[in-house]
């Protein structure tokens, strides 16, 4: 069982919230996270925001589970490890992931994100539909539409950054959902 807690604070009438996870992102965790968010979202976000946050969060978590270069092995099964954080205030909701990547993964992801981030809504929709018709890339678990759908649903770019220590390379992805007054 994971230690998922929604930390909700009210400072001078302004609500903030956050929850974090660090460790294995296998399917068991994904089910727990989905249950957790489904049962706690009403305290901090609207139903429409929840649908977008659930999609984007699960895509980030699945990416960590499938592609992180840091793995935890259980028998023959390997699950990726990384960090995930969901936070928000009255103006935005932010989802951030960080995990170890290889140099090749980093280059490939940056190439994709630079392209997707540069496209407008109609171009993204056309690319999304094209990728649905294409055969799935052999190295992809999601048919190559995960990032595209995140950008379309959140209506914001995926911000990326990378850092390295002595021997490892880390990729951070950030998605920010801008809240509107009408959603309240």
């Amino acid at each position: 069982m994971m230690d998922l807690v929604m930390d909700i604070r009210n400072d001078a009438g302004a609500q903030t919230f956050s929850c974090t996870h660090e460790g294995v992102c296998d399917n068991k965790f994904l089910v727990e996270f989905t249950d957790f968010l489904s049962s706690s979202f009403e305290q901090v976000m609207t139903t429409q925001e929840f649908k977008v946050v659930l999609f984007c969060s699960n895509e980030l978590l699945q990416n960590i589970g499938f592609y992180s270069a840091e793995k935890e092995y259980s028998g023959e099964a390997a699950s990726g490890k990384g960090k995930f954080r969901l936070s928000g205030d009255s103006s935005s909701i932010t989802m951030t992931s960080e995990n170890r990547v290889t140099k090749e993964q980093l280059e490939r992801i940056i190439l994709s994100l630079d392209l997707y981030n540069s496209l407008g809504p109609d171009e993204l929709k056309a690319l999304y539909k094209q990728k649905l018709k294409d055969a799935s890339p052999t190295d992809s678990k999601g048919g190559g539409i995960g990032f595209i759908e995140i950008i379309r649903k959140s209506k914001s770019q995926i911000v990326y950054s990378s850092r390295s220590d002595e021997s490892n390379l880390f990729l951070t992805l950030k998605i920010q959902l801008i809240r509107t007054k009408n959603d309240d």
Binding site: D26, F55, N58, S136, G142, G143, I145
Partner: protein, 125 residues
């Protein structure tokens, strides 16, 4: 004799009720399985077999709460198979249900509807 395909809904896999006698197929729930291919391949195989052996009308009822990106891809593959069946003369209908306040699922249905020629009903519940 073609058998029905029935899978019980779980937290991360769809409920499946494919009836070979009536040609009515139901998909319900959420889908973000660990291995999407493993889950969806039997569904696609069943539909292909239905087209070959039964060649009757097929009605697909979809009541979805949430799909991850790989499940969207497989659902699109199923719709493509239905579209091809329709083009070859087979009768197909999709009923796409969404909760009244679920814009996300409604929009997903509307986008799929744009690319098919057969009857595609989007139904608010």
């Amino acid at each position: 004799m073609m058998t029905n395909l029935i899978l019980t809904k779980t937290k991360n896999t769809l409920g499946v009720n494919f009836d070979a006698t009536t040609g009515v197929l139901d998909l319900t729930g959420s889908s973000y399985p660990e291995n999407t291919t493993e889950f969806f391949k039997p569904l696609i195989d069943w539909i292909q077999k239905y087209f070959l052996e039964i060649t009757g009308k097929l009605i697909l009822n979809i009541k979805i709460d949430y799909l991850n990106s790989s499940s969207i891809k497989y659902l699109s593959d199923i719709v493509d198979k239905l579209e091809n069946y329709n083009k070859s003369g087979g009768a197909v209908e999709i009923n796409w249900y969404h909760k009244e306040d679920d814009e996300d699922i409604r929009e997903m249905g509307e986008e799929i509807k744009e690319d098919v020629k057969f009857t595609f009903n989007i139904i608010s519940e």
